[in-house]
């Protein structure tokens, strides 16, 4: 959250994250080229670099696509999620470097415009690669919070879900390109294993999340029983579901309920805590006042709020949401 935008909100964790990415890349490319030269002494440095950058970006994409489902399965992976956009921007830059090297190596210095040559020659695998690179560009170019606000969170998220389409295009790029020319099965097996692992992770995460999306039973008046007050830790929430997830927070001897979905990037507010009187999203620290679902001034984000009551030590929630930012009287414990 920031009153005035900065380019990057640097902190120690971000610096460590980026240093890890950068050093990992350097080591990977150096190792790839070293092993490549050892195995193929006649290979040129350009060819090895093209392949090193290609495999590095493909590996990075697998890591990026794994982070989401891994975080759903275990909160210990959350530190990988916090600065995932840095990984995404780096992925685009590495893929761009691969593309530039490949265009210069295979399509430049001829009679035909290099881009025309790229898009009209071979099996067409370059076209799939170019399309994937465009998607990655749009994602990298809109990774700043300015775009989240300008495009709206829904449009921004839709655009960034394009990463799955980019992944499919890259698989086609690899299948019709490198795999087509490759005589050893290693790359094919690795690509298949990558796809299988991503699919498995996503399926496991989906089943895990499904458990939390089962609608709670409704009473005769339509309210939901959110369970005993004693089950909710002070400063934490219990999440119930009624067509959408509702986070029921206990704090300062009171109970309030807000939408479980953070306005920033749809983080799970119910997994956060109440800090300094504010519900704090565990993903990026966005905050909301529990009594009205509004971010404290001067911030302007709002989430829907819900009526609550406490009867005989049990919490009940009215699943009909109020407009975001509507004040609701908390129930007293």
């Amino acid at each position: 959250m920031s009153v005035s935008y900065t380019a990057v909100g640097w902190n120690r964790a971000k610096k460590a994250y980026d240093a890890t990415i950068a050093s990992g890349l350097v080591v990977y490319v150096a190792l790839f080229c070293g092993v490549g030269f050892a195995a193929h002494p006649n290979a040129t440095i350009e060819t090895l670099l093209i392949r090193a950058l290609a495999t590095a970006s493909f590996l990075m994409l697998h890591v990026i696509l794994s982070i989401g489902p891994l975080c759903r399965l275990s909160p210990r992976f959350l530190p990988l999620l916090y600065n995932r956009r840095h990984l995404g921007v780096t992925l685009f830059l590495v893929a761009l470097a691969h593309a530039v090297f490949a265009i210069v190596q295979f399509h430049a210095l001829g009679n035909v415009n290099p881009l025309v040559s790229l898009l009209t020659s071979g099996t067409g695998f370059q076209t799939f690669g170019a399309a994937a690179l465009c998607i990655l560009f749009f994602m990298a170019a809109t990774s700043h919070d300015f775009w989240l606000a300008t495009l709206s969170p829904r449009a921004w998220k839709t655009l960034h879900m394009g990463v799955y389409f980019a992944y499919a295009l890259i698989v086609l790029h690899v299948a019709l390109g490198a795999l087509h020319a490759e005589s050893y099965p290693v790359l094919g097996i690795a690509t298949g294993a990558g796809m299988a692992s991503l699919l498995t992770l996503h399926v496991f995460a989906a089943f895990h999340e499904r458990a939390g999306d089962r609608d709670a039973a409704r009473l005769n008046d339509g309210w939901i029983d959110a369970g005993p007050v004693s089950d909710i830790q002070d400063g934490r929430a219990r999440v119930v579901c009624a067509e959408e997830r509702i986070a029921v927070f206990r704090y300062e001897g009171k109970i309030s309920a807000v939408s479980d979905v953070c306005r920033h990037q749809n983080g799970p507010l119910g997994e956060g805590r109440v800090i300094d009187g504010c519900i704090t999203c565990p993903w990026h620290g966005y905050q909301y006042l529990p009594g009205n679902g509004r971010s404290p001034a001067p911030f302007t984000e709002k989430v829907p709020t819900f009526d609550v009551r406490v009867v005989d030590g049990r919490v009940y929630v009215n699943p009909e949401a109020h407009e975001p930012g509507t004040p609701v009287q908390p129930a007293h414990v």
């Binding site: 935008y5 900065t6 380019a7 415009n113 898009l119 749009f138 300015f146 775009w147 495009l151």
Partner: protein
Amino acid sequence: MTPDVVHGALFALATYLVIGSVVAVPFVIFDIGRIDPAAKAAPWTFRALVLPGVVAMWPLLVRRLTQSRKAR
């Protein structure tokens, strides 16, 4: 795709990006704060960072700017 089709598509893309570049530079310097108040006092590093996206999506931002001017 035939070379002529690719030539045409690349020409259209280049035209779009040139217009985008001409629009984007004054936009990030003078007008970005009109559509997002948090960008008004933002440093040049932020403006440079969003520039590629502005070049790519200049029609959307021109529309937003026009709407914000009409609203005043």
